[in-house]
Each structure stands twice: as structure tokens, then as C-alpha cells.
């Protein structure tokens, strides 16, 4: 096949990986060979394009009505087995559907729907989404809260707040208040639940944008770790006793996942790690140790979702409860 034999350093210099390259030797993925189950299938999956998926927005329509609209419009769709509001769609440009304009659907990657499910917000609660833009998870949480209570959607970046606001308006979310604080210094408040979906190196997004793999380096993972720890620490500080904090990333690097969660568990007293389990969705336990670093047995309660398990992107989710 030739391409796989190409000098590795020249590929890196170009910044792009050929589709048929021997992915397993590449930086960033090779290190997971002994960690990710069925590694060959994982490598094969990560270079397949992502299925087109969307979420039905119950704030503006009901499920049967939307599904019958799409049927009339001859747009094929199939709801997920694990989540009735999510569906795969047989169209290349779901953004050009009238149903998208009306806010009846929200285009969202399948696996990213998992964190709101784990967060499990209830109508009338006070919830914080600390790193909210562009608002896919925010609007999903707003929907689960049935447009009641308070959902503070925070993001410091001006440009990203524009897309966040736009998505919340289209979703018809009237319970979302948008703020623009540095998440590490979010003002003292008390929330029932907090989602800390941190910035990360995004290796799990490789099926959407293969360039993320070329940008990854251990240095980058370690560089962003301090921010991730600070955001999660602030998240657990602003949650009420008995409240839930969900930490998530879309990367495979344990430096940004288990390492962050275990450090915060070490530094903040009175936190417990709960088992993440989403029925009918295949996942792997978090890592208790990797490459000589021990994160603790309890890290197995976190969940890792790999692209080949459910034909999605990659994701990491941890659920913490404050005593």
C-alpha cells in the first residue's frame, strides 16, 4: 500500500494524514494500542466519516409529529436504540432542512448527547453549563428541563457566545441565561447540577476533522490539563451539597480525563465518583492506570466511548456527587 510506509516525519510536517496511512503508528493513537479494546477496529473506525445525526427538540415539536414530517419530506431517519430523541438521518445537509430552521431538530453528534443524559437535569432545577458554546448540550439540557427553572450557559469567548445565543434562540429555550465569565472564576452561586464539558485536544472528533490527530501532542494534553482541573474544581465549588457535576471531554488522552478527575478528587474533599452507565450504549470503563501512572481503581466508574463501539465520535464522561 505504499502510503503506510511513507516517512513519518514528512507526514507530520505536512500536517495531514493520508486516509490510508497506517494509523496505528501515528502519534496520539499508537499509545492506545494496549488500552483501547479491539484496537484494530478502533483504528479502522476513526477514519470513516461520521453518520449524520440530529436531536429532536421537544421544546418545539413532539417526536411523532417530527418523524411524520420527515417521512412526508422523504428524509430517512432512524432513532437511536439508546436515546429516543436522537436519530441518524439519511441526508447530507440536515442544516438545510426546514425542520432545522424551525428549531424542531438540532444537529448534534450522537455521542455528545450522552453527557446531558448522565447529568439528568430535572424541570425547575438550577443548572450550570460552565463551558457551553456552541450550545448543543445546553439546548439538550434546556429541553430535559422542559423550559423551566434556570440554566446558566457560560462561555468566555465572545465569538462562541454568538453561536451559543443563536442556538438557544432557535431551540426556543426560555430557561437559558447566557453569561461570559472565565469559568475558573465563575461567581459564587449554588446549582443543583453542573456540566463541565471542558476544552480538550478533541481526538474523539477525528472522524469529523482528521486534522485533530495531527495537532495532538502529549505537550498539548498536559498544557490544557491545568485549565481542565481549574474548571472542574470551580464546577464542584458552585454545586450544592448533594448536587451532581458531570465532567466530559471528547478526547482519548488520559491526561485530560482520568488524570483530571483523580486530581480533583484528591484536592477537594467530600466528592464521590459515581458509576456512569447508559443502557443500550456500549462503552468501556475509565482507566485505573496507564503507562506507569495510577489513577485509582474508582476511575473505572467513569465511561469511555470509542468510535467503533457505537459508530460515533469518541467521548469521556465522569459523574461526581458532592456530599
Amino acid at each position: 500500500m505504499g502510503v503506510g510506509d511513507r516517512d513519518h516525519s514528512s507526514i507530520r510536517r505536512l500536517g495531514i494524514y493520508p486516509r490510508n496511512a497506517d494509523c496505528a503508528v501515528m502519534d496520539g493513537l499508537a499509545r492506545y494500542a494496549g488500552v483501547i479494546p479491539e484496537f484494530d477496529r478502533f483504528v479502522e473506525a476513526i477514519y470513516r466519516p461520521l453518520p449524520v445525526t440530529a436531536r429532536i427538540n421537544a421544546l418545539k415539536t413532539d417526536r411523532d409529529r417530527l418523524l411524520s414530517r420527515l417521512k412526508v419530506a422523504e428524509v430517512a431517519c432512524r432513532p437511536f436504540a439508546w436515546y429516543p430523541w436522537g436519530m441518524r438521518m439519511g441526508t447530507d445537509k440536515p442544516g438545510n432542512l426546514v425542520e432545522n430552521l424551525m428549531g424542531h431538530i438540532h444537529i448534534q453528534e450522537e455521542i455528545s448527547m450522552v453527557c446531558a443524559v448522565v447529568l439528568d437535569p430535572r424541570p425547575g432545577e438550577r443548572v450550570l453549563d460552565l463551558c457551553a458554546a456552541p450550545g448543543s448540550k445546553t439546548t439538550q439540557i434546556a429541553m430535559m428541563m422542559e423550559n423551566r427553572g434556570l440554566l446558566v450557559a457560560n462561555d468566555p469567548a465572545n465569538g462562541r457566545v454568538a453561536s451559543l445565543r443563536s442556538n438557544c434562540e432557535r431551540a426556543g429555550a426560555i430557561n437559558v441565561a447566557v453569561t461570559r465569565y472565565d469559568g475558573r472564576r465563575f461567581p459564587a452561586q449554588k446549582f443543583d447540577r453542573v456540566l463541565v464539558d471542558v476544552p480538550c485536544t478533541g481526538q474523539g472528533m477525528a472522524r469529523k476533522d482528521p486534522a485533530v490527530l495531527g495537532r495532538w501532542s502529549l505537550k498539548r494534553s498536559l498544557g490544557i490539563q491545568r485549565l481542565q482541573v481549574a474548571l472542574l474544581k470551580r464546577g464542584v465549588e458552585v454545586v450544592k451539597p448533594g448536587g451532581t457535576v458531570v465532567y466530559s471531554t471528547c478526547t482519548f488522552a488520559p491526561e485530560e480525563n482520568e488524570a483530571v478527575v483523580s486530581r480533583v478528587l484528591d484536592q477537594v474533599r467530600g466528592l464521590s465518583l459515581q458509576e456512569v452507565c447508559v443502557p443500550d450504549l456500549q462503552g468501556s470503563p475509565g482507566l485505573s492506570e496507564v503507562g506507569g501512572s495510577a489513577f485509582g481503581e474508582e476511575m473505572k466508574r467513569c465511561a469511555r466511548y470509542y468510535p467503533h463501539q457505537n459508530d460515533t465520535g469518541g467521548f469521556f464522561v465522569a459523574k461526581l456527587v458532592k456530599e
Binding site: L59, K60, T61, R65, R69, L70, V72, A73, E74, V75, T91, K93, P94, N96, L97, V98, E99, L101, M102, G103, H104, N147, R148, G149, L150, V152, N158, V161, R165, S166, C168, E169, R170, G172, A173, I174, N175, V176, A177, V178, T179, R180, Y181, P187, Q189
Partner: protein, 167 residues
């Protein structure tokens, strides 16, 4: 501090729900009960709809959604307000055919006879609200925000048979 955060120092001031319900009731016949669980606030030249009456003391970029724009001579309900509450309208509402909907979604002005008064109208398609239109002397002018418009050629989900309809 950036400019936008300075602008946000302008507070959200509570607006009487009855006032907003009266506006939506007199123009569209929407019953006031539709707004029972909604609180309204004014900031700048917009009225915002939010889920709570009491808001925690934070510096907000946005509070719920922009509901009515009071920039012009006549208050204009936003696309998003009508997408949420337009289904309760009993007057000044039009349902479009496939071809008419395509033109509305593309942001166009079109000739259309409809039993409505001149002014802002609820525009729907196949029973679901698309947004706000301005009806003026037999013309329906799309008020969809520019970033939401979809050009005819890019539109998805209209069956083949309906594409030429109404042209």
C-alpha cells in the same frame, strides 16, 4: 473589558406579563394563559422572555430569548417568539403552500392574498410555524433573520414534486 460586556451593564428590567399578553392577544388572538409560565424583561429595544421572575445577580449576555423588538413604530414579535407561541394564534396567521413556503424561507417578498390585516403575521407551513412575516397591501415580506434563510436550490426536505409548485 470588551465593549460588549460594558453594554451588558444595562440591566434587564421586569415588564408586566399582562402588557405583553395584551400585545400578543390583540394582534394574534393568542390567549393570555399561553404566557402563564413566562416572565418578561426589557433591555434596550427588546423584550425578552424568560422562565423565572427572579434572576440571580449575574452579568448576563442574554436572558431567555428576544421576544418582541420595540425598535420600530409597531412592536415586532421575533421569529423565535412566534415559533414558540404562534401556534396559539387565532388571527393574522397564514399557512403557506409548498412554493410560497420556499420563497418565504429564501427571505423573499411575494404577492399573496390572505385574510389578514396589514402588519406582522404568523407564517406557518404544513401546520408548523416558520416565523414572522410582514403583510402589506397584498404582499407577504419574509422577516426571517438573514442567517436562517435557505436559498431555494439548497433547500432540503421538499419532495421533488413540490419543487416547481407555485412558480
Amino acid at each position: 473589558m470588551s465593549q460588549s460586556s460594558l453594554r451588558n451593564r444595562q440591566p434587564f428590567l421586569p415588564v408586566d406579563r399582562g402588557e405583553v399578553a395584551e400585545m400578543m392577544g390583540s394582534r394574534f388572538g393568542i390567549p393570555s394563559e399561553a404566557f402563564e409560565a413566562v416572565s418578561f424583561f426589557r433591555r434596550g429595544r427588546n423584550i425578552w422572555a424568560f422562565s423565572l421572575e427572579d434572576i440571580p445577580d449575574l452579568d448576563y449576555e442574554a436572558l431567555g430569548l428576544r421576544f418582541i423588538s420595540i425598535r420600530g413604530r409597531v412592536p415586532k414579535p421575533t421569529t423565535y417568539a412566534l415559533q414558540l407561541f404562534g401556534r396559539f394564534a387565532t388571527k393574522n396567521a397564514v399557512d403557506l403552500s409548498d412554493g410560497e413556503a420556499r420563497r418565504f424561507i429564501a427571505g423573499e417578498r411575494q404577492q399573496l392574498w390572505a385574510p389578514v390585516e396589514d402588519g406582522y403575521v404568523v407564517v406557518s407551513y404544513r401546520g408548523d410555524v416558520l416565523g414572522c412575516g410582514l403583510y402589506s397591501r397584498g404582499d407577504l415580506i419574509s422577516q426571517l433573520p438573514k442567517e436562517r434563510r435557505i436559498e431555494g436550490k439548497d433547500m432540503e426536505g421538499f419532495s421533488e414534486g413540490s419543487q416547481g409548485c407555485g412558480r
